[in-house]
Symmetry: C2
């Protein structure tokens, strides 16, 4: 197997990033494409990998360039998978390495860079009609959401979708938004506060949200939630 670069086909390698956040419901970041193919259609932010940067590095850069999201503040970034059907881009052979990013709701509209019109839009309609997104981005989004749903079960990832300090109820609303059904607040509370090093109390309390003041927590050291959060619709009582 020779490595002479001229003997092998040029393949463009890109990264595409699925950025998810919770804004009442699950939202995904999309940009509007300016050029053909798929001009005017929503797409995932992404771009070419540069010669001297790693894949994760490229994803981080694209995120900053196109959306202003800075990697530092409570952003979770992981590789999702690669998509390389020969026909996925009509112009040339492109293999895309997809990343999944989870972040707390930035509140303000995204301060963009390259793509003027980056915005968080509700994920649900896009999941129903994956064909609305350019290329195979609908499938990538579907895979990203499924990965997120699965990982909430057994990891502390939900905290990445919350501000740095949060209440148990806020954390629960993240689970409810991602999974799409309500959880029992009392059992949820017992579960997450009972798991060792899963949450650490800051000592402070807050009454944002009304009612009795709630303890504020930060994410703990525990990488996994054991036993996992059961992903099952509760009875309505």
């Amino acid at each position: 197997v020779a490595y002479d670069p001229d003997r092998y086909p040029r393949v463009a390698v890109t990264v595409d990033v699925v950025v998810l956040t919770v804004r009442g419901t699950l939202h995904a970041l999309v940009v509007r494409r300016g050029e053909e193919p798929f001009a005017g259609r929503p797409a995932l932010p992404g771009g070419f990998v540069r010669p001297d940067e790693g894949l994760t590095e490229a994803a981080t850069r694209e995120l900053a360039e196109e959306t202003g999201t800075t990697a530092g503040d409570r952003l979770h970034l992981e590789q999702l998978g690669s998509y390389g059907e020969p026909s996925r881009d009509p112009r040339m052979r492109v293999v895309s390495v997809a990343y999944l990013a989870l972040t707390a709701d930035p509140g303000a509209p995204v301060a963009g860079g390259d793509a003027a019109s980056a915005a968080f839009v509700p994920a649900e309609p896009l999941l129903r009609r994956p064909g609305r997104l350019a290329f195979d981005h609908g499938r990538i989004l579907t895979d990203a959401v499924e990965r997120t749903r699965a990982k909430l079960e057994y990891t502390g990832l939900a905290a990445a979708l919350c501000p740095s300090e949060f209440t148990v109820a806020e954390l629960r609303r993240v689970y409810e938004a991602v999974w799409g059904f309500p959880l029992d607040p009392r059992n949820f509370h017992r579960k997450v506060t009972g798991a060792p090093s899963f949450l650490v109390a800051t000592g402070a309390t807050t009454t944002r949200g009304g009612g009795r003041p709630a303890q504020l927590y930060r994410r703990g050291d525990a990488e996994y939630l054991d036993p996992p959060m059961p992903r099952r619709e509760a009875q309505v009582g």
Copy 2:
């Protein structure tokens, strides 16, 4: 973002395949490299993605070419992830899409193609010293084994490491080999036979292995094992 192919760096895209099987203990398929860099060192089978084939297609082809493993017969193949550090291949920029393949022990030594010396070797020593493998293949192998260990918990994947008909004890030995500790045969039996559509009895029995004849099973339709197999060392009684 322009797509002019000449404006973007050539990146070679390869697939590398981690083929795992159980031969008493967990074994991985390695080939011996014929040329620099890493000449003479063990490596994962793999090669370039061709212009008109998809990634999974390329993995299937490499598997057949280099190892004679034909995709048809009870082979599980899934994408593992992509590895693209700029320095991972000293000659040029190579992004590798890694695949995980699980197969029943073929028994006979691998009837190879390109790589003369493809062989299953025990995985344990390679996991202890990942640096023995060429490039970053040690890390890829580590990731593949971790993925396999995790997936046995909640899927029917273990059956891919068994012949098409197998006994409950044979299935258990797969779990024990992959996880590296013994399971209680009685509770294991109840669990896998109790899960609906996880296994289907063929009606036939076998006495290979001695003792009372054991029922033969085929893998059922159920994709997931629910509740999962607990991955915890049992008490020794």
